[in-house]
């Protein structure tokens, strides 16, 4: 692919793949936990949590990006602490792009997983408990295997959303070639300069290919898992 894409284009593709993969992997455990809490939990503040999770889905991405900048920027309340204690800076770094992608993809991921949690028959978990399984083992041996198709669907959706994230990313971390210029930012940048259109088109082709492969993969895995879970 490197022969076909220019080094600058390849840089954007590689960055986007790395950012999206990391954003998906890091937010997946939290996504499962939040989906479980929303599907099963009965606690005060459940509605608030639900709203908070869904906020990035309904807010203009540029607003989410700006809020991230206010919170996680070097002078923001959380960003200042991260810088002071761990020396971690997010704003205008590729790590910030990971955070922006994760936040934007989170609602989609949680929704997919939550649906699969709601489809699990709690009576199977009761049966596991009567067979001597402590709660954590019930989760590991019954709940998790049964929601795996939903977790996978959530991960694929999240990854695809992260690959396409533009507004929040460009607001939070800007579009610095080689550092924070993800694939969509690069396409936008190429379209702004004369003669950049062939580069933009090549990146569009890569986007379409990645999306199609992700979709096919999730369909195939989802069907295989659903067969397993149905017990046939």
């Amino acid at each position: 692919m490197e022969g076909w894409l220019t080094p600058a284009e390849w840089q954007a593709v590689a960055l986007s793949l790395r950012v999206s993969a990391l954003a998906t992997a890091l937010s997946l455990p939290l996504g499962i936990a939040v989906a479980l809490a929303l599907a099963r939990g009965r606690f005060p503040g459940r509605g608030l949590l639900n709203g908070l999770v869904h906020l990035p889905l309904i807010l203009p991405p540029v607003v989410t990006g700006y809020l991230l900048l206010l919170t996680f920027g070097r002078k923001g309340p959380v960003g200042a602490l991260l810088d002071q204690w761990f020396g971690v800076v997010l704003a205008f770094r590729w790590t910030g792009a990971v955070l922006a992608a994760a936040v934007m993809a989170f609602p989609l991921m949680v929704r997919a997983i939550r649906l699969s949690v709601e489809a699990v028959d709690p009576r199977l978990e009761q049966a596991a408990a009567t067979l001597g399984a402590p709660r954590i083992m019930v989760f590991a041996t019954v709940t998790l295997p049964l929601i795996l198709p939903g977790v996978l669907a959530g991960a694929v959706l999240g990854f695809a959303k992260a690959m396409g994230e533009f507004g929040a990313t460009i607001t939070f971390v800007s579009s610095i070639p080689g550092q924070t210029q993800t694939l969509p930012s690069a396409i936008y940048a190429f379209l702004q300069v004369p003669g950049g259109e062939p580069s933009a088109l090549r990146l569009v082709a890569v986007s379409v290919a990645v999306a199609l492969v992700a979709l096919a993969l999730s369909e195939w895995l989802g069907r295989a898992l659903a067969r397993r879970v149905a017990g046939a």
Binding site: D121, R123, L124, Q126, A127, A128, A129, T130, L131, G132, A133, P134, R135, M137, V138, T141, V142, P145, L146, R228, V229, A230, G231, A232
Partner: protein
């Protein structure tokens, strides 16, 4: 094993109140749908916290609301066979069977896989997944799975209710083998008296959350006062006996305390134990020994109690040589024969009257 239960729990529509002691063996919890049976066994299993009560099993406190004690279900070692099986769909039959083994205490002496597979006849199913099993097969696997977790008590919540008559007939002998060969104490929830009579030695009767009676199956099923709660058409005493011989004309003789009984050919070797439920509506009464009659069983007996059935009839409790019998007759018949306690009568039972499901061992 002795299970002691004393609990109160409010449910929408009624309050469940039950206090009983289940001796070793099989104890049946009987009642119509919505009587509170499942709530009761859920509390024993730890799937439900009763509003108030105390449950102990062999001295181990499972739940004591007054003392604030609560043992979570996974630490109770109480096997539960659910009405709908509840097999894990993502695991094979073998994995389902061995699931509880991971968590059973080391050194717990329970049956091993080979024994359970043999007892329940599920050897051919081990590699399959639950989705491909029939209802009867699922239920047998569910029983095996519960047994292999080395429970000290097995709860069976209407294990046959979801099955058709043929599947029921398929599972019942396995439950009888389970009772006779493992000695595992069981609490059987049922709304079918034929199952209760075949399997249980002890009975707890629930009606709209209230415990109506608790005691030995033979005593309670022949109690005329209890018959309206059990259902008049289902009321009937249990007689125990031994298979004596198979006659060439297709009848089998069972020797009971009441005398010999002839029934259409039953499976089994002479000497085998037989438990038979004789429905009250299948018993006729005569003051003199009838002759020239097609009925094959005529047992001399004495009336011990009479009880109005709440409609146009009477339930008559009989003592036939020490064996209890129950007869359901109309008020008109009772008046014509002047039935009264102490009166010697003859109980007439057609050989073909008892249904196959009323015959156990």
């Amino acid at each position: 094993m002795t299970l002691q239960v004393d609990l109160t729990h409010r449910l929408p529509g009624f309050t469940l109140r039950a206090a009983f002691q289940a001796p070793p063996g099989v104890t049946a919890v009987f009642g119509a749908s919505g009587a509170g049976k499942t709530t009761l066994v859920h509390a024993v299993a730890g799937l439900l916290r009763p509003d108030r009560g105390r449950i102990t099993c062999d001295g181990t406190v499972l739940c004591d609301t007054a003392a604030g004690q609560w043992l979570p279900p996974h630490r109770r070692r109480i096997g539960y066979v659910f009405q709908e099986g509840r097999l894990f769909p993502h695991l094979t039959v073998r994995q389902n069977l061995l699931y509880g083994r991971w968590f059973a205490p080391r050194g717990a002496n329970g049956p091993d896989l080979a024994q359970v597979v043999d007892l329940l006849g599920i050897g051919a199913l081990l590699a399959r997944r639950p989705g491909t099993l029939s209802g009867g097969e699922k239920q047998r696997v569910a029983i095996g799975r519960a047994m292999l977790a080395c429970p000290r008590l097995l709860l069976l919540d209407e294990p046959l209710a979801a099955l058709d008559a043929a599947r029921k007939a398929e599972i019942l002998p396995y439950l009888e083998r389970l009772r006779d060969e493992t000695g595992l104490p069981m609490l059987l929830v049922s709304h079918a008296l034929s199952e209760v009579a075949r399997l249980a030695g002890h009975l707890v009767v629930l009606d709209h959350g209230q415990m109506i009676a608790a005691g030995a199956v033979e005593t309670l099923l022949s109690d005329p006062a209890l018959a309206p709660h059990l259902g008049l058409r289902a009321a009937g005493a249990v007689i125990e006996g031994r298979l004596a011989q198979h006659d060439p004309d297709g009848l089998s003789r069972i020797d009971t305390a009441a005398g010999p009984l002839w029934l259409p050919q039953i499976a089994g070797q002479p000497g085998a134990r037989v438990r038979l439920r004789v429905l009250a509506q299948d018993v006729m009464l005569a003051l003199t020994r009838p002759t020239a009659i097609s009925a094959q069983n005529i047992l001399p007996a004495r009336i011990t109690a009479l009880q109005p059935d709440g409609a146009s009839g009477l339930l008559v409790q009989l003592d036939a040589g020490g064996a209890p019998l129950l007869a359901h007759v109309t008020n008109r018949a009772a008046a014509a024969l002047a039935l009264a306690p102490g009166l010697p009568v003859f109980a007439v039972i057609k050989a073909v009257a008892p249904a196959p499901e009323d015959l156990g061992r």
